[in-house]
Symmetry: C2
Subunit: 701 residues, 2 copies
């Protein structure tokens, strides 16, 4: 890989040690044993030679260029060493040393200083407080881990170093191989964004696995991951998902962990697959590192036992896969090649006495069916079973059908071990339980649908030219100069008008006569509402009168409101009374906005009305959103069924909601200081009749 | 175990063979090798000696009593052999032979004949078409499986024989041991109900695992499992969960598979834990076979690595566990015993350099905290880590806290293998990934809450004495004699009245004058509805007029209805017109009933109104239900939040819904021929104001 962190021409190990219990010993030993072909320079003022290599007193004494320096000295001297590296022209630092941000404010100061030194000399830093990294193809093992992994196609980038050491040991018995392993440590400089981009270009890597607890550069992360996802799959295990989990994350890295919803929304936008467990992370990876991406989610199951076939069917359907419907010719071929008692419909049961040949025939017939996009083959060791020959048959047949992934579940222990190893070595993921095969295959299928989704995301954004961004900014500025952080109802309505979002006609008036005048301009019925920056909940102080039908009623309502408000909110500063046209009731939905500190603005769509809080029937997207995304947001909710019309109702004007979502998306691009916003309710009328934003709340920073 | 199937005094193997490839050879060999201490009689007309034992020409020639005969001859001669066994006084048959129900109608006839023979001689049958069974304590391995399992505390009863052979092989490497293994085969006689009861009494077994695809004796199953669940946990993996899965189940065993909802409801009633995967089934079992049941779901996590601690926290909370809040004294002790950088709040991070002693201290302090009900201890192999000594520390400390289960996750491969084996051998479940530890501990905690639930289920049923069962039966009989399978609206209302469920006042009238008379008796407003057995959807034919406020309007509505009906449903037989009092609108819920062919009547509660179909917010219970169960049904739904009152609404009369549920439960006990029923909507008024069944549909068989 053409990157001088992963593929440096020379490596210095500062803090190299002759003590086998020291990190500086293991590090150097790993570099040597990994077969690294560049120059290796141990640096230690107290040694002349370490592990058979000449040792230098300091980095300054090292002859020739040094691309990479690995710093494994106490934090107290690390800065000095970094400075020396800078002067020496080192390009990359990998700082193993702990004692930085993770230990409190003194460490945080030290970390900032480290970054400043690196900037001064244009060095990049991995760490500090990390395990190092491994590149299996350079090859270079620049970690102090006890185990060297198998070479493979999986890159693993982890914010937890201990997780890497544990997984390395565990991966051996599972037959999992890696292309690259990176321990991010405190991410003072190089972070997941950097590595996703770098490894995205690495031809040796087929899948990128991430373990992250926090992401700081949210927008760059989404952009880079989205570009990379189109080339190769990214699977993430996010630590700190739940509230208490997030608390643990804070005590662990001192990093801010956003709410998981924002992460989920961001991962979705970036086409990143989410794994829920370590096992899932690697089961996905096993599939991605060798198998191709299927054209769809229709799968076949071939088994030599009914029960496991049923279990696999259940789990596949739960995982969102579908069972292929075989063509008549597939059915006929199976019928002619299999014994009469075999099940020839999907799942195919080749029966307990099936030898390798019968498996081969069944697999060949099933994989040739057009409706089969991928296949799970199950083997249980029975008296006549030939695990190894069956494995060979699977390998042989699967090569004929390259676009169709094949995943094996050989259920058992010793009886199937050798056969399973054979499959894994030949690139067919083989698991000991069917549930893991289902997860692996469903990962491949999910990636296919993510690729299809990504096309929507890269579709052009709609830009509205009928909006008045200048006026929008003015509205915010006036409110801000007024010392407020939220807009008045009348201002929020004007903001909506500036962005072409329909609101009911309304005027702010200061007298009974003005109110009557306004009502006559709009036509009855109207509503009157108090307008005051101090009164957020107008109904609570009697500040609202609805369904007013005449001049006399306007007059009476005006007086009633003012008298109630003077009684219940005597100190409120009054801007006047809003006269608003009553509009017919539509189906109630909510469109809202919130700003996540990591990923920026998220737009929300959901069911409105009294059930909104009970059912939490909402969907989110990061802004900006495309028309397809806006439509998907609506379709994802159950409210969509209501909008389409149930019990013979006419369909609602969904296109008008899409329009509102897109315009709000543009609004926060133009006026990013808006941090929260609710249109609740948005009344949606029948198809072609549009929608109206009844109540609008806007909070800005 | 005092049961002559599992612990026979003597065993005959009919079809014992000298051919090592034959089932009859492996069977006999397994019996001998398992160390069985009773008499073993091989039976084969063509041999004098098999595997060193004297062989008999027929079962009749065998000297002494034979408790158990294992039949491994072709199906064609199995009946003859069974007859001979009967004459010979055999008590139990285990029929290995295939060729019965699973091969079609001829086989089904043969199976019925087999059952008849057994009944004649009072023999019980395991199978046919099964693998046999194993009792590790008798000891007796009466299967033809290739592997003999480790001895342990888990009983595994499976409807799939192949699953048993695969799991036996697989269980060895996982360190899982069994007390009993039973292959049910076609379940011609002995079924899961029999074995749950028998093994429920077995002191060697601590947990019963079931793999079932179908259950035939639904009510007995629930009764027996409920009794057994109170003594020891039952965990089930149900094959054929999804529709396509169910299809596979039918082709596999020819058994009827009920919809999964009925199974879920039945398992819940019986206190059975559901596993979703094979791995879950055994992860649960590992915990149950050695650890005690915790007092609650508050857990602690002790780890030597932050990342895995965070992952475990996330998964625990997702699984419904809670993290304990440590007492100040726990916090103080941890602070004094652990290094300053350690995390002393839950999850406790003893840091990467923790040796066994530090683990011991942390575990001891944490387990002594009153709020800790159970604990997960995580180890990642790092430079200073002492896996084996840490394992010993865990074993030692856990013995001090017997009511508090301890589950280990030693993440790794070779580096932790020996330590993991040590833990498992000492009864501490140890997994290689934290997700499995979480599943195991959550299983223990779920069983605790099931035990608490079971107390509700065994609470006394309420019996209402103000009901008129005779009248209810009459109503059904009249409708039946009329050739109908559904009640008219007016009949359904009367049925409700007979069971004390409030309905709006209503009269069936045959003339305008009668209608006016009825309206005046009840008071206005009223509604008029056509009554005809042919008209199910009255509104569609214009057969309903609502909100009638005067005698004149009644007259007009009566005429309108009759004229519309004569136009749109000219052939319908008319019983008259129903005059019903209009009642105020309440919160809309649905209470319904359905009869499952396996488990009997299930009662349903859910949200009513237009959102009912969109949100499917419903809960089910098998009847009869207790008051606590009825209350739980309501609480399980999101509708409960609406009933409690949102946005300042007064709470609804939930007690009146409980009353309706209990009365319906009693109704189907008294009149079991009701197969379907809907009260939709049930209008629920504010607390103390009751509810009214607006529309009632009743279908009977």
């Amino acid at each position: 890989m053409n990157n001088s962190l992963f593929n440096p021409r020379s490596v210095a190990v500062i803090g190299a040690s002759r003590e086998p219990t020291k990190v500086g010993y293991t590090l150097l030993n790993n570099i040597i044993n990994s077969g690294y072909r560049g120059n290796i320079y141990p640096v230690n003022p107290k040694a002349d030679e370490v592990l058979g290599l000449k040792c230098y007193k300091s980095i300054s004494e090292v002859p020739g260029e040094v691309d990479l320096a690995i710093i494994a000295v106490p934090a107290q001297v690390a800065l000095e060493v970094a400075e020396e590296c800078g002067r020496r022209g080192v390009k990359y630092l990998t700082v193993i040393s702990a004692g930085f941000k993770e230990v409190g404010s003194e460490g945080a100061d030290r970390e900032r200083e480290l970054v400043n030194i690196a900037k001064k000399y244009r060095m990049r830093i991995l760490g500090p407080n990390c395990l190092g990294f491994i590149d299996s193809y350079t090859p270079l093992n620049a970690t102090f881990a006890a185990v060297t992994p198998r070479r493979g196609r999986i890159a693993f980038v982890s914010q937890s170093g201990a997780l890497i050491t544990a997984i390395l040991d565990w991966s051996i018995k599972r037959g999992i191989g890696f292309s690259k392993i990176v321990s991010l440590g405190n991410k003072a400089d190089l972070d997941e964004v950097y590595f996703i981009q770098a490894i995205g270009e690495d031809i040796e890597t087929k899948v990128i696995l991430l373990y992250v607890e926090s992401i700081e550069r949210g927008k760059e992360f989404v952009d880079v991951a989205k570009q990379t996802s189109m080339k190769k799959p990214i699977v993430v295990l996010k630590g700190g998902v739940t509230e208490a989990g997030a608390r643990a994350a804070m005590s662990h890295t001192g990093a801010m962990t956003g709410g998981f919803t924002a992460y989920e929304v961001a991962f979705k936008k970036a086409g990143i697959l989410i794994a829920n467990t370590i096992s899932e992370l690697f089961d996905y990876a096993m599939a991605f590192s060798n198998q191709s991406i299927p054209a769809g989610s229709n799968i076949a199951i071939v088994t030599n036992a009914g029960g496991p076939g049923i279990i696999t069917t259940d789990l596949s359907l739960k995982a969102g896969l579908r069972l292929s419907s075989f063509s008549p010719s597939t059915i006929n071929s199976l019928r002619s090649k299999l014994p009469p008692a075999a099940a020839i419909y999907n799942p195919v049961d080749v029966l307990g006495d099936a030898r390798a040949d019968r498996y081969r025939n069944a697999l060949d017939i099933v994989l040739s069916d057009e409706d089969v996009n991928g296949l799970i083959v199950i083997l249980t060791p029975q008296a006549m079973t030939e695990p190894i020959d069956t494995a060979k048959a699977i390998i042989e047949v699967s090569k004929k059908y390259l676009g169709k992934p094949v995943i094996a579940a050989f259920i058992g222990g010793e009886a199937v071990r050798e056969a399973a190893d054979l499959l894994i070595n030949e690139g067919i993921p083989c698991f000991d339980l069917p549930e893991r095969a289902v997860i692996a295959l469903s990962g491949l299928c999910r990636y296919r649908s993510y690729l299809d989704e990504l096309e929507k995301v890269i579709e052009k954004y709609v830009k509205f030219y009928d909006v008045d961004a200048v006026r929008a900014r003015e509205i915010i500025n006036i409110a801000r100069s007024d010392g407020r952080r939220a807009l008045l109802e009348i201002e929020a309505r004007e903001l909506m008008r500036a962005y072409g979002i329909p609101v009911p006609p309304a005027f702010l008036v200061k007298s009974e006569d003005e109110a009557i005048n306004a009502a006559n301009k709009m036509g009855y019925p109207v509503a009157l509402k108090i307008s005051s920056p101090q009164i957020l909940h107008k109904t609570d102080v009697g500040g609202v009168v609805l369904n007013i039908n005449s001049d006399a009623e306007v007059r009476e309502a005006y007086r009633t409101i003012l008298s109630r408000v003077s009684r219940y909110a005597p100190k409120a500063m009054l801007y006047g009374v809003t006269v608003q046209k009553m509009v017919p009731k539509g189906r109630e939905v909510i469109v809202g906005l919130t700003k996540d500190q990591v990923f920026g603005h998220m737009i929300m769509f959901g069911l409105g009305g009294i059930y909104a809080n009970v059912f939490r029937d909402v969907s989110f997207r990061l802004t900006p959103v495309t028309p397809s995304e806006a439509m998907d947001m609506i379709k994802e909710t159950k409210a969509y069924a209501i909008l389409k019309g149930i019990r013979g109702e006419a369909p609602a004007d969904v296109a008008s909601i899409v329009n509102v979502i897109l315009r709000l998306s543009q609004l926060v691009q133009d006026v990013p200081e808006i941090v929260e916003m609710d249109i609740n309710p948005l009344f949606v009328y029948n198809e072609g009749e549009g929608c109206i934003a009844l109540d609008v709340k806007v909070v800005f920073s």
